[in-house]
C-alpha cells in the first residue's frame, strides 16, 4: 500500500472536465483551494499517427495532418507539405504560395478566436466565447467556399493547393477584413481590459524566458515571456519575408512580463497582424497555376529533413526520414502543445484551483496534437 500523504487530497481534474481543452487528466494534490502539485496524464487521444504515417503514402497522410490540431488544420497541412517539398525540392508556383499564406493566416485568426473564447468562458464570461464563435463562422464560410470543409480542410497539398479559389472568394474575404477589426475592439472593451479579467490573469503563472526555453515552449507563449521568436520572421518560409507585419512581444502591461494576461493579449495582437497579412496578400495576388506538377505515384528521394512552421499554438515541426519509397520510413511530429503542457507542473506550485484553469486556458493547449 503506497504511503498515503494525508496532508493532501488527490483531486482528479479530468479526463472529463469542462475546462481541460480536450481529454486531459490533471491529478492535483491540494489541501483545499491551494494546489501543491499537479501531474498531467495524457494519452487518452493517442491514435498513433506516426505509425499510420509509415503505412500510408505521402499524399494519403495529408488528411491526417488535419486531425493534429483541428483548430488550425490549414497550418498543419502547410507544415507537412513544406517538409515533403523540402525533400522533393520542387518550386511552388507563386499563386499557390500566396493562397497558402492567406489560408494559413485566416486559420490562425479562427484558432485564436477559439483560444480567446475558451479562456473567457473558463474565466466565467460566456458571452465573449459566443462572439468569438460568431466571427469564426465567417471564416468557416470562407474555407467552405474554397475547399468544401469547415474544420478539416485537406486543402494545402504537396506542391501547392488542392483547387483554385472560386471567384466570389476575394470579395468575401475583403468583406471579412473590414468587418473584423471593430470586433477586436469590442472584445477589448468587453473582456481584455475588464478589471475582474485582469485580476484573474495578471501575475498568474509567470513563465520566465529561461524556463520557456528550457521546456521548449514556443509560439505566443514564448513571445509573451519577452523573447521575439517567430518562425515567420526568423526562418521565413513561403513568402513571409516579403510581407510587412510586426511580432507582438510580451511587455507586462498588466503585471509581470510572461504572465497569463500577456499570453492572452499576444493572441489578440496576432489576430490584428494576421488580418493585415491577409490584406497584403490579396493586394499581391497574380495569375498562375495553383499546384506544381507532382507525379501521381510520389516517390520522395531518400534523405532526412526537419522542417518547422509557425502554428497558432507554437512551432509545429515534422522530422521526416524517407528511404526513397512512396511511404515515409519515419515521421516524427513535434507538436507545440506537447512542450507547452510540459511546463504546467512547474508553474502550478502554490496556485489556486481557479488559477489552474487560467493557466491551461492561457497556454491554449489542444490535446489531439499532444497525444498524436
Amino acid at each position: 500500500m503506497a504511503v498515503v500523504d494525508e496532508r493532501f487530497m488527490d483531486l482528479n481534474m479530468g479526463p472529463q472536465h469542462p475546462s481541460t481543452h480536450g481529454v486531459l487528466r490533471l491529478l492535483i494534490k491540494t489541501d483545499g483551494e491551494v494546489v501543491s502539485r499537479v501531474t498531467p496524464y495524457i494519452g487518452y487521444l493517442h491514435r498513433a499517427l506516426e505509425k499510420i504515417a509509415e503505412r500510408l503514402t505521402y499524399p494519403q497522410f495529408t488528411p491526417f495532418t488535419d486531425r493534429l490540431d483541428y483548430l488550425a488544420s490549414m497550418n498543419c497541412n502547410l507544415a507537412y507539405a513544406l517538409t515533403v517539398e523540402k525533400l522533393l525540392n520542387i518550386e511552388i508556383p507563386r499563386r499557390a504560395q500566396i493562397l497558402r499564406v492567406i489560408m494559413a493566416e485566416l486559420n490562425r485568426i479562427s484558432s485564436h478566436l477559439i483560444a480567446f473564447g475558451s479562456l473567457s468562458s473558463d474565466m466565467g464570461a460566456f458571452t465573449p466565447f459566443l462572439f468569438g464563435i460568431r466571427e469564426r463562422e465567417f471564416i468557416n464560410d470562407l474555407f467552405e467556399m474554397v475547399c468544401g470543409a469547415r474544420l478539416t480542410y485537406n486543402y494545402i497539398r504537396i506542391g501547392g493547393v488542392a483547387q483554385d479559389i472560386p471567384d466570389g472568394f476575394i470579395d468575401k474575404t475583403k468583406e471579412f477584413l473590414d468587418y473584423f477589426p471593430p470586433k477586436i475592439k469590442e472584445y477589448n472593451d468587453l473582456l481584455s481590459y475588464n478589471a475582474i479579467f485582469i485580476k484573474r490573469l495578471a501575475n498568474i503563472a509567470v513563465i520566465s524566458p529561461e524556463d520557456a526555453l528550457d521546456y521548449g515552449v514556443t509560439g505566443p507563449n514564448l513571445r509573451a515571456s519577452g523573447i521575439k521568436w517567430d518562425l515567420r520572421r526568423e526562418e521565413p518560409y513561403l513568402m513571409y519575408n516579403e510581407l510587412d507585419f510586426d511580432i507582438p512581444v510580451g511587455r507586462g502591461e498588466m503585471g509581470r512580463v510572461g504572465d497569463a494576461w500577456d499570453r492572452y493579449m499576444m493572441r489578440i495582437y496576432e489576430m490584428e497582424q494576421s488580418a493585415k497579412i491577409v490584406r497584403q496578400c490579396i493586394d499581391m495576388f497574380q495569375q498562375g497555376d495553383h499546384i506544381a506538377k507532382v507525379p501521381k505515384v510520389l516517390k520522395v528521394p531518400a534523405g532526412e529533413v526537419y522542417v518547422r512552421a509557425e502554428n497558432p499554438r507554437g512551432e509545429l515541426g515534422f522530422y521526416l526520414i524517407s528511404d526513397g519509397s512512396t511511404k515515409p520510413y519515419r515521421l516524427k511530429i513535434r507538436a507545440p502543445s506537447f512542450a507547452n503542457l510540459s511546463i504546467v507542473p512547474k508553474l502550478s506550485g502554490g496556485v489556486m484551483i481557479a488559477d489552474l484553469v487560467a493557466i491551461i486556458g492561457s497556454l491554449d493547449i489542444i490535446l489531439p496534437e499532444i497525444d498524436r
Binding site: 483551494e33 468562458s121 466565467g124 460566456f126 468587453l190 475582474i196 485580476k199 484551483i353 481557479a354 484553469v357
Partner: protein, 372 residues
C-alpha cells in the same frame, strides 16, 4: 392578512376556540398556496427570461419553440426535471442529501411573506420585516453546506465551503447598507418604509435620493446582494468551469430544480428589498394623487412594485452575461477590504446626515427652502 383573519374571526366570535383555530389554519393555508403559486410562476418565467436575455445579449434567438415565443419553456423544463432519474450517490449521507434542497427552497420562499405588494395586498405585515428576511436568507448557506457535504463529492465539497464563506461574509455589507437606508424611515416594517417614501411626485422622496450616503448604500447593497444570491461575477460556489457544477454536482431531477428555483426566488427577494427600501416600493409615480377606484389603485401599485423588481432582476441578468468570475480570495478581499469598510463609513455618514437634518431628505430641504 391579519386584519382579514380578525374580521373573519370577528363575526364568528361566538364560536368555540376549535372553529377559530380551524379558520386561522385554513386562512394560513390559502394564503401560502396563493404566494407559493405566485413564487413558482415567477421562478418559471424568470428561467425563461434569463435564457431570453442571455440570447439577446449574445446575438442569439433564445428559446422560442415551446409555446408562443417559447413562454412555456419552463413548463417543459419542469416536466423534464420531474421525469429525470432521481439519483442519490451511493456513499452519500442520505438524509442530509434529501433534506437540503427542501430547506433551501423553503428558506427562499419564506422570505416572500413580509413583502408588501401594495397598500392592502400583503401576506403578513410584520413590524420586523427586513430583519426577518435577512435572518431567513442566512439559512440558505447552511442548507447549501448540508447538500454539498451530503453528496459526498470532492467538487461539491469545494462548492459548499465556498458558498458558506461567501454568503456569511457578504451579509455584513448587506446589513450595514440596509441600516443606512432604514435609519431614515426608522422602521423595519416594509409598509411603513414605503409609506414614508410617498409624496413628491412619487419619485423624489425615494430613500435613494434622500442623501448621497443612501445612494452609495444602494450600490453597496446591490453588489453584496448579487454575491448573496451566488450570481456572476460571484458565482464561485457553482463555478461551472472550475468545480464542474459546485454544490449541486450530484443533484439530478427535481432536487436540482429546487436549488435552481431557490436561486431565482432569492433574486426576487433581494431586488424586492432593494425596490422597497431604495425605490419607494409600490408608490405610483406621477399619478398618485389622481382619485381612482380602490381596486385600480391596488393593481397599479402591484404593477409598479413588480416592474421595479423586474428591472433590477434584468440588471442582474445583464451583469451575469457580461462579467467574468472572481477568484475565491479576490471575492473575500472585495468583501472585507472594500465593501465592508465603505459600508461602515457610509452608515456613519448617513446617521450624521439624519442628525443634522433630523431625517429630512434633500428633496424636503429644497422644497422647504423654496416653499416659504
Amino acid at each position: 392578512m391579519i386584519e382579514l383573519i380578525n374580521n373573519i374571526i370577528g363575526n364568528i366570535h361566538s364560536s368555540t376556540p376549535m372553529i377559530r383555530w380551524l379558520v386561522y389554519v385554513m386562512v394560513i393555508v390559502i394564503s401560502s398556496v396563493i404566494v407559493l403559486s405566485f413564487a413558482l410562476l415567477y421562478e418559471g418565467f424568470a428561467t425563461y427570461a434569463e435564457r431570453k436575455v442571455a440570447g439577446d445579449i449574445q446575438a442569439r434567438i433564445g428559446p422560442n419553440r415551446v409555446g408562443p415565443y417559447g413562454l412555456l419553456q419552463f413548463v417543459a423544463d419542469g416536466v423534464k426535471l420531474l421525469l429525470k432519474e432521481d439519483i442519490i450517490p451511493f456513499y452519500a449521507d442520505k438524509w442530509l442529501f434529501i433534506i437540503a434542497p427542501y430547506i433551501v427552497f423553503t428558506a427562499s420562499f419564506a422570505a416572500f411573506v413580509p413583502l408588501s405588494y401594495s397598500d392592502h395586498v400583503y401576506v403578513a405585515n410584520m413590524n420586523v420585516g427586513v430583519l426577518y428576511i435577512i435572518a431567513v436568507s442566512s439559512v440558505v448557506s447552511m442548507a447549501i453546506l448540508m447538500g454539498a457535504w451530503g453528496s459526498n463529492n470532492k467538487w461539491s465539497l469545494f462548492g459548499g465551503m465556498r458558498a458558506v464563506a461567501q454568503i456569511v461574509s457578504y451579509e455584513i455589507p448587506i446589513i450595514l447598507s440596509l441600516l443606512a437606508a432604514i435609519i431614515i424611515p426608522s422602521s423595519l416594517d416594509m409598509k411603513d418604509i414605503i409609506l414614508y417614501q410617498s409624496g413628491g411626485l412619487g419619485i423624489f422622496r425615494w430613500i435613494i435620493f434622500n442623501n448621497p450616503f443612501t445612494l452609495l448604500a444602494f450600490f453597496i447593497y446591490f453588489t453584496a446582494a448579487i454575491a448573496e444570491v451566488n450570481r456572476t461575477p460571484f458565482d464561485i460556489p457553482e463555478a461551472e468551469s472550475e468545480l464542474v457544477a459546485g454544490y449541486h454536482t450530484e443533484y439530478t431531477g427535481m432536487r436540482f430544480a429546487f436549488f435552481f428555483m431557490a436561486e431565482y426566488g432569492d433574486m426576487f427577494i433581494v431586488s424586492a428589498i432593494a425596490a422597497t427600501l431604495f425605490f419607494g416600493g409600490w408608490q405610483i409615480p406621477f399619478i398618485n394623487g389622481v382619485a381612482m377606484p380602490l381596486w385600480l389603485r391596488e393593481t397599479l401599485q402591484v404593477v409598479v412594485f413588480l416592474t421595479k423588481i423586474f428591472v433590477l432582476i434584468y440588471v442582474m441578468m445583464w451583469i451575469r452575461w457580461t462579467l467574468p468570475r472572481l477568484r475565491v480570495d479576490q471575492l473575500m478581499e472585495l468583501c472585507w477590504k472594500y465593501l465592508t469598510p465603505i459600508a461602515f463609513f457610509d452608515l456613519i455618514g448617513a446617521s450624521v446626515w439624519v442628525l443634522l437634518f433630523n431625517g429630512k431628505g434633500v428633496y424636503d430641504i429644497l422644497s422647504a427652502l423654496f416653499v416659504h
